[in-house]
Structures are given as structure tokens and as C-alpha cells.
């Protein structure tokens, strides 16, 4: 690693602050020259650092500083969209022209108009920049971030003599700023800091190879617990060494939070009002019904200070709060943006999500999590007579069909007998369907863990009964 001091000196971050609002205002003036009914301008910028370490050296160090503008035009109850990453005057004008022209072919809908006061449940913001943006983040030099990643590599390697390689260690952070201005009078901005570190360890024993990874994320590097990340990655790698395929059978599953959170993410995807209204959700017509056999509580909460998907307002400017999606095992509500809420004669839950300035606001989750219980992992484990502790799953995107509800994925972990771990297991699949999965949950642990996915999804360890395992 060369000295980055000079670069660091030149690269101190200047908060864009009102610059994004200024971009919105300039664009608004230009839109006013066109004949449109309403408009919305979304801007987002991010400054990112990405560091990859291999064998104690910087393998890749990349810097990025990007900005983009997305414009939504409403005309005769039709919507057109366009975006640009080039902010010169003529590019913005071209972007507006395209957005206006895109209105011509989209369908007319009575509900196509900007959100107003009446669309929002909340009137006052519940979270702001002070919890989402850590000033201390700006004090970390690139050097110090590189050292962090190097330290994680060393820590992970030293955890177990069977760890032979660290195939990837990476650190990634970003300062994100965004602003929305619309012709109905909304104009606001916020900013966030986030950092993510991950490590993947390869272990070997008697000709068998195993991999295991873990990660941590926080608002600033001080929030990353390297010791814990190293330990978990090492454990996840070595604990499945020597794993073998088992006989196909039905058994109970004890799901690690990393696994249960991924499965909860599948459930979350079926709860958007958009998928329900388009008849693509198994939860259609199920509000008020008992979905889980036990008293599960699940929230979509955009107000958690550490939640990476927390935000004062959503992708169309609706104030974001905490939504109780499941209460005591009963489905209480779907997740709404304003368009889908108007269709269902209700109000938005603040779930308009924009993946970036490239896309229009769709319905999605914020921090979506299952409330933990007070049952420790050891207790969950001791309650399993014959079961499979699932440490990791593979092929979720190809093995889960959120519309038909079928879930089938590769799994690895450890076989459990009489409440204690027996032999490692790999190259098997687990299969069920979404509604059966919800019904099969028997117990919930106390070890809530969040994973960054499309949204930020949290789950404790969970015990699921009687699931088909396919092996030999």
C-alpha cells in the first residue's frame, strides 16, 4: 500500500447540502416552460470508497462520486419518467423533454397525481439527519479504512488453523444525499452515512474445502465489531468442514438469523400492495387472517436510528413511520405507496422506494424485521430432538418463486440430535412454500440480526418444524 495522505488531503468531503435542492429548483424552472399538470424532481448523490484486500495488500481501491436526477412528469393523469447523470443545462432540458414525451404512451389512471397532506398518516418527521448521518464518519482517512480491512483479514485467519485462505475481504462506505421537490409543495432533503465490511474464509481439512462469510454494517467504522465478524466468518467456514449429504427426510430446521432473514425477505416481497393488487401475492385477501401459528410480530420501521433503510420520508416524500405488518401472527396491513393506497381507499405507509434516480418510486420495504423473543439460541437448540441447523442457503433467487410460493434452495449446516450438534451436512436442499413456512414456525430466538438486501431485513434464529430435506 502506497501512501494515500496526499489524496486524503485533497478529498475532504464537502456536504452538498442545499446544492441538491438548487438542482431541483433549476430543473423546476425549466419544467415550467412545458405544458404539464404536475412534476416531481428527485436528486441523489453518493460518494463511495471501496477497498478490497488480498493477502495483506490493497488489491483494489476505488473512489466514486456520482450524482443523478430523475424527473417524473404528470400530464392528463399519465406519468412519464426520465433521468440523467449529466447535469449540464441542455442535458436537463433533454431529460425533461423525454419525461414529457414518455407521458404519451403510459396509461391514464385516476390515481396518478402527486401525494398531498391527505395521503400521509404522519404529519411530523420521526427521524432526521442527526441519527442517519454521523459527522465522525468524515474523520476516517482512507488509510484507516484500509487498516480496518487488513485487520479483519488477519483476525479471521488467526481464528482457526484450518483456515487456509481469505478469498475476499472488503470494505465499502458511502455518503448518500438526496432531495425531492414536487409541484405540490414538497421540498426536503436528508443525508446518510453507511459502511459495510465483509470477509470470506476458505478452510480445508483432509481434502475437504469449505467456505464461510460474515459481515457487519454501521453508520461509521467505529460501529463495526471486527472481532465478532472474524469469529462468525471462521465458525461458519470450519463448522461445515467434512460435511456430507444426508438421506432425504422430513425434519425440524433451526435457521441461523442470516438464513431466516433471507426467508423473511421473501415474505416481505409478497406484502407490497402492488403485488397484491396485481394478483401476484399469496397474501391477497388475507388481511385480518392468522398466517403464523404462533404470536409473531413483524414491523416495517423506517425510524430505527441504526437501521440502514431508515429515512425521514419515502421515495415520494411521504413521512416514514413504523408499520405493524403482522401482530400476534395475524396479517394487519400490506405496504403502500400513495398510488396503491388510493386504490385500496387507505393511506400510504411510506413505502415508496427508489432503488436510485434511475427508477420511479415502487413499493418496497424499509427496515423490515421480526420481533425477537427472550429465548436464547442454546434453548432453541436444546429443544430439537432431530433436526438440521441451517447455517447458509444458496440459490434463493432461482429457487424461490414469490408468486407461486414455492421455496427450494441449497443448504448447509449441522445435523442436530437430542439437542446437540452432530455431523456437518452439505449438498442438500430444503423445500417448502411460503404459507407453509409461516405456519411451521414454532419458536423465535432473541438474537435479532439485520442483513442488507433490497431493504434492511432483520430476524432472530427461528425453529421451523417438519420441513422436507432432500439429499441422498
Amino acid at each position: 500500500m502506497q501512501d494515500n495522505k496526499k489524496m486524503q488531503d485533497k478529498k475532504t468531503y464537502e456536504i452538498r447540502g442545499s446544492q441538491l435542492i438548487d438542482i431541483c429548483r433549476d430543473a423546476a424552472l425549466k419544467i415550467n416552460k412545458h405544458k404539464v399538470d404536475e412534476f416531481e424532481i428527485f436528486t441523489a448523490s453518493s460518494v463511495e470508497n471501496e477497498i478490497e484486500i488480498f493477502k495483506g495488500k490493497v488489491e483494489t481501491l476505488s473512489f466514486s462520486d456520482s450524482i443523478g436526477v430523475g424527473i417524473r412528469i404528470f400530464k392528463d393523469r399519465s406519468i412519464g419518467y426520465a433521468y440523467t447523470t449529466v447535469l449540464e443545462e441542455k442535458s436537463i432540458e433533454e431529460c425533461i423533454r423525454k419525461a414529457v414525451s414518455n407521458c404519451k404512451i403510459t396509461s391514464r389512471e385516476d390515481y396518478n397525481y402527486l401525494p398531498g397532506e391527505e395521503d400521509s398518516i404522519l404529519k411530523k418527521k420521526l427521524i432526521d439527519d442527526r441519527s442517519l448521518f454521523h459527522e465522525d464518519f468524515l474523520d476516517y482517512t482512507i488509510e484507516s479504512k484500509v487498516e480496518l480491512a487488513k485487520k479483519l483479514e488477519v483476525l479471521t485467519r488467526s481464528r482457526d488453523t484450518r483456515i487456509v485462505d481469505i478469498d475476499s475481504v472488503g470494505y465499502h462506505d458511502s455518503i448518500y444525499e438526496t432531495a425531492i421537490l414536487n409541484s405540490a409543495g414538497f421540498c426536503d432533503k436528508y443525508k446518510t452515512t453507511t459502511c459495510l465490511i465483509y470477509v470470506s474464509a476458505i478452510s480445508k481439512q483432509e481434502g475437504d474445502t469449505s467456505t464461510g462469510d460474515f459481515f457487519g454494517c454501521a453508520r461509521e467504522p467505529a460501529g463495526l465489531d471486527l472481532e465478532e465478524i472474524a469469529q462468525k466468518a471462521a465458525d461458519r467456514s470450519v463448522s461445515v468442514l467434512g460435511g456430507e449429504k444426508i438421506k432425504s427426510q422430513r425434519a425440524d430446521l433451526l435457521l441461523d438469523p442470516v438464513v431466516s432473514a433471507q426467508l423473511l425477505g421473501v415474505v416481505a416481497g409478497c406484502l407490497t400492495a402492488d403485488s397484491v393488487q396485481k394478483r401476484k401475492s399469496l397474501f391477497e385477501g388475507k388481511v385480518g387472517q392468522k398466517i403464523f401459528s404462533i404470536g409473531v410480530n413483524i414491523f416495517d420501521d423506517g425510524t430505527i436510528p441504526d437501521g440502514l433503510s431508515s429515512r425521514p420520508f419515502d421515495g415520494e416524500g411521504i413521512i416514514k413511520g413504523k408499520t405493524r405488518v403482522f401482530e400476534d401472527g395475524y396479517l394487519r396491513t400490506y405496504l403502500y405507496n400513495t398510488y396503491t393506497a388510493r386504490k385500496d381507499k387507505t393511506r400510504s405507509t411510506g413505502n415508496a422506494v427508489r432503488a436510485s434516480y434511475r427508477s420511479t418510486p415502487e413499493v418496497g420495504i424499509s427496515n423490515f424485521y421480526m420481533e425477537p423473543s427472550d429465548i436464547g439460541f442454546e434453548k432453541l437448540l436444546s429443544d430439537v430432538d432431530r433436526g438440521f441447523y441451517v447455517i447458509d442457503v444458496i440459490g434463493l433467487h432461482s429457487g424461490v418463486n414469490p408468486i407461486s410460493g414455492q421455496m427450494s434452495m441449497g443448504a448447509k449446516g449441522i445435523w442436530i440430535e437430542n439437542g446437540s450438534f452432530k455431523q456437518p451436512v452439505r449438498e442438500v436442499t430444503i423445500g417448502t412454500d411460503i404459507l407453509s413456512f409461516c405456519r411451521s414456525i414454532r419458536k423465535i430466538g432473541n438474537d435479532l440480526k439485520f442483513i442488507p438486501a433490497s431493504g434492511y431485513i432483520g430476524s432472530p434464529s427461528i425453529l421451523v418444524s417438519d420441513i422436507m430435506i432432500s439429499g441422498k
Binding site: 500500500m1 502506497q2 496526499k6 489524496m7 485533497k10 478529498k11 495488500k57 490493497v58 481501491l61 476505488s62 473512489f63 466514486s64 462520486d65 456520482s66 443523478g68 412519464g80 426520465a82 433521468y83 447523470t85 449529466v86 431529460c95 414518455n102 404519451k104 404512451i105 403510459t106 487456509v164 485462505d165 478469498d167 476458505i202 474445502t209 469449505s210 467456505t211 432425504s248 396485481k278 394478483r279 401476484k280 427508477s359 420511479t360 444458496i394 440459490g395 432461482s398 429457487g399 418463486n401 408468486i403 407461486s404 410460493g405 414455492q406 427450494s408 441449497g410 448447509k412 452439505r426 449438498e427 436442499t429 423445500g431 417448502t432 422436507m468 430435506i469 432432500s470 439429499g471 441422498k472
Partner: protein, 461 residues
């Protein structure tokens, strides 16, 4: 897109503090995307992106930065800042630039710009009608049509530059069928590195009907049996098995990091002797084809496995230098924001001799996997999965009941050796491949093949 003078100036600034290599990558991209759902055009959006990525190497380290602009002053500033990441003394300098040549020459007939928005709308509405008319069980049709026009330019400190104009068209149809409580889906896509003449290659209505047929057929699906069975994998998208079971493990970055089961296996038998596998980015108009890769090297046909023997890995420039091999034109990147690394292009198992029907006929009890939802692999262990979205039970050499969506799990090196039959019906299917958070376009391909034994993720004992 940029003057030679400025290119040289930037490359030399990047070399100025002792870098071993410098590169500039410029990309301009205009795209249009239209989506139909609920029999309505829900979304019509257009995008414009322009930017420049700068890369340098010193020793084993890569440094990368990009700017969303082509303004001379911004490019020079970015180059100076990136160059200051290292503080040695520069000895290399670029004096001349020579244009690289590529074997890949294509002609675009119908540019996206020449196709009216109304015509695109009509296509989507026709797809919607065709699917819904196919069967009353069809309750939802989602169809997306997108096109991109792109220009790229790459120059590096070896004194080479290349430029390319790329036009792409992508059309996807998702269909949902419902009977009682059972909901099933069907998916088909058409993706070409060409203009709208893509619709001459495949008619959008046919695409709609094929997707509809899958969804409706699957309404009769039963739970797949659990356990190990012989599996016959259909042509085209079936190639996803090779992509996952072997392809990713042949990408040289995994090999370099000792994270591939295929390391140190060149010249060795890794697959059944009836298997020959190829990565070919020169196949005209295919989704994974290009004139130059993301590092400006010409596209190439690389034989990966010949008669079961491993011949070559899939390289980008950096991994080829480190492993002392010739780069294979597979250094790809999602955009100017991203560092390139080795990626597959169009990767397939080559045609064999057997009649596909007799392959199915040879199985007394097994599974026929026809359409797929993708897959995933852990290259270090070789363990892979792929999802079957249209599959059937084979009984006494005949296709019987369809099975519900299921996952197949196997180990790459073992599965390759268990390929017992390769058909004579090679075909391809387009898709997207994600790795290290970067998506690139690929095609997978194969004729019908038979794997002797593999675990089917069933839900029935």
C-alpha cells in the same frame, strides 16, 4: 469521444507517480424502458448516462476512480487525484496510440431511435392480448421492453485504443396463471445485441405464447420427488448448469485466489470425455457478444474443455498477467463506474451426437428439466444449485407429470464427470449474470444432456 491528445495526457498523468499501467474507459449510454402490467402501460422511462473510469496499477494494487462527465478539466483533475494515490517516480510514458482491431463486425438495421414509442406500446399490448387469449387461467401479464444505445472508448498505457457502438434490445414476458389456490408462472425473454430486427429473430407473440404455455402446464404440477435421480437437462437455458457448475470456477480471479476447484487442472480430465465447452463472445448478435471487452481487447472464442480435458481459463488482463497467460477478451464491467474482472460471455456445451428423444427415452425414472430460473455457485467448493421453473417427471423413458418449482444441488467437478449423454441440438438462451455486485449480459447454451445422478430438491418423500 475524446481527442487522442487528451487521452495521452490523462494516461501519462496516471503513470506519473510510478504506476505500471493506466487506462481510461469512456461510456455514453441512452436507454428506454417500457413496462406493461395489468394490461396497462405502467411505466415509460428514459435514461442518459455519460462518464469516464480511470484505472491504474502499481504492483498488485489497482486504483480506480470515475467522473460523471467528459469535461477536460474534470478528467484532468480526476487523473491527478487518482495518480496521487501513489508516490513513486514515473518512468513509463505513452507516445502513440494505435487502434485495436476486432473480428466481430455487425450491422444494426433498426436503431431504437427509428422505432416510434407507439410501436413499442403496440408490441407490449399484443403480447398481453396473446397471452390472455391463450388461456383464461392467465390472470396477469407483465412485459418489459428496453433498448440501449451505447458508445464506449477504451485506451491504455500499452498505447492501444478501441471504440465500439453497441445497440441492445431486451424483451421479457412474465405470465401468471391461476386455478383455485394454485398460482404458477411462466417466463421467457428475448435479448439481442442488435436493433429492433431482434423481433425478426423471434416474434414477440411467440415469446408470449411460450411463457403462457409454461404457466398453464405448471398448473398440473405435483411436488417433485426428493433424492438423487438421473436428470435430463433440456437445451438452451439448460446451459445454466455449465455456467454455474463449471464456468464461474474457470474465471481466473477465482483461480488466482485459490478459490476455485479447477485450479492446477489445465491439461487434466475434469469432465466426461463427451463434453466440449466453449466461451465465445464473437457469436453474432448474441446477448453476451461484443466487439471489444471492457478493457478494449477484441472478442474471442475460447475452448475451455475439449473432450473432457481442461484447456483454458477465462481471463481479463490483470489475471492473465499474474498467471502468465494470454488474456481471452473476457475483462468485462457493468459500466464506467466499475472495475473490470473476468466474466463469461456466451458459454456453452458444444453439440454432441445423440438424439434428444432417445436421451429421454433412456431414463426409466428421473427428471426432465426444461426451463430454469437461474443458479448460483460457491467456486471454492464447487457446490452449485440451479432452479427448475419447468420440469417433468420421466417414467419409463416418457415425460409424465410436471413438477413444482424446485432446486437441484450438486458439486461441479462431480456433475461434469457424470454427464452421460450430449445431444445434437445445441441452442442458446440469454440472461444476466451477477458477480461482485456487477451485472453483465450473458448467454448460456447446450444441447440436451443427461446427468447420471444429482440431488433433486423435492418436497415429497
Amino acid at each position: 469521444m475524446i481527442e487522442n491528445r487528451l487521452t495521452k495526457q490523462i494516461l501519462n498523468i496516471l503513470l506519473g507517480n510510478g504506476a505500471d499501467f493506466s487506462e481510461i474507459f469512456i461510456q455514453k449510454r441512452a436507454s428506454n424502458n417500457i413496462r406493461l402490467e395489468d394490461s396497462k402501460i405502467e411505466n415509460s422511462s428514459s435514461g442518459y448516462e455519460l462518464g469516464c473510469g480511470l484505472r491504474l496499477w502499481v504492483g498488485d494494487s489497482t486504483f480506480y476512480a470515475y467522473v460523471d462527465s467528459l469535461e477536460e478539466s474534470k478528467l484532468l483533475d480526476a487523473a491527478k487525484i487518482l495518480s496521487s494515490a501513489i508516490n513513486g517516480a514515473g518512468s513509463l510514458k505513452v507516445l502513440d496510440l494505435t487502434e485495436a482491431k476486432s473480428p466481430y463486425v455487425t450491422v444494426v438495421k433498426k436503431l431504437p431511435d427509428s422505432v416510434q414509442a407507439d410501436a413499442k406500446k403496440d408490441t407490449l399490448e399484443l403480447i398481453d392480448r396473446s397471452a390472455r387469449d391463450f388461456n383464461p387461467a392467465i390472470i396477469q401479464v407483465t412485459s418489459t421492453l428496453s433498448d440501449t444505445e451505447e458508445e464506449t472508448y477504451v485506451a491504455n498505457s500499452y498505447g492501444s485504443f478501441s471504440s465500439e457502438k453497441i445497440v441492445k434490445v431486451f424483451l421479457a414476458v412474465n405470465v401468471v396463471a391461476r386455478r383455485g389456490k394454485d398460482i404458477r408462472t411462466g417466463y421467457k425473454s428475448l435479448a439481442r445485441s442488435s436493433g429492433y430486427e431482434a423481433f425478426d429473430f423471434k416474434n414477440p407473440v411467440d415469446l408470449a405464447l411460450e411463457a403462457s404455455k409454461i404457466a398453464v402446464n405448471m398448473l398440473d404440477a405435483v411436488g417433485a420427488p426428493a433424492g438423487e435421480f438421473p436428470v435430463v437437462i433440456g437445451p438452451a437455458f439448460g446451459g445454466v448448469i455449465f455456467h454455474e457448475a463449471c464456468g464461474h470456477g474457470l474465471e481466473a480471479d477465482a483461480v488466482l485466489k485459490n478459490a476455485s476447484v479447477f485450479r492446477d487442472k489445465i491439461g487434466k480430465k475434469i469432465a466426461s470425455e463427451i463434453v466440449t465447452a466453449i466461451d465465445d463472445s464473437t457469436l453474432k448478435y448474441r446477448w453476451g457478444s461484443y466487439k471489444f471487452d471492457g478493457e478494449g481487447f477484441p472478442s474471442n472464442r475460447t475452448v475451455l474443455i475439449k473432450d473432457g480435458i481442461l484447456q483454458n481459463y477465462i481471463y481479463d488482463l490483470r489475471t492473465s498477467k499474474k498467471l502468465g497467460a494470454k488474456q481471452t477478451g473476457n475483462g468485462r464491467r457493468q459500466s464506467f463506474r466499475d472495475v473490470p474482472f473476468p466474466r463469461m460471455s456466451n458459454t456453452f456445451i458444444d453439440s454432441g451426437n445423440e438424439d434428444p428423444d432417445s436421451i429421454i427415452g433412456s431414463v426409466s425414472k428421473g427428471i426432465y428439466a426444461k426451463e430454469f430460473a437461474g443458479g448460483q455457485v460457491d467456486p471454492a467448493t464447487g457446490d452449485f444449485v440451479f432452479g427448475i421453473s419447468e420440469g417433468y417427471i420421466i417414467e419409463n423413458g416418457k415425460i409424465s407429470f410436471p413438477i413444482k418449482d424446485t432446486t437441484i444441488i450438486g458439486n461441479g467437478p462431480e456433475a461434469l464427470k457424470r454427464i452421460e449423454a450430449v445431444g445434437n441440438n445445441l441452442d442458446f438462451a440469454p440472461g444476466f449474470c451477477g458477480k461482485n455486485d456487477q451485472l453483465v449480459s450473458n448467454e448460456v447454451g447446450q444441447p440436451t444432456i443427461k446427468v447420471e445422478k444429482i440431488t433433486v430438491g423435492g418436497i415429497k418423500d
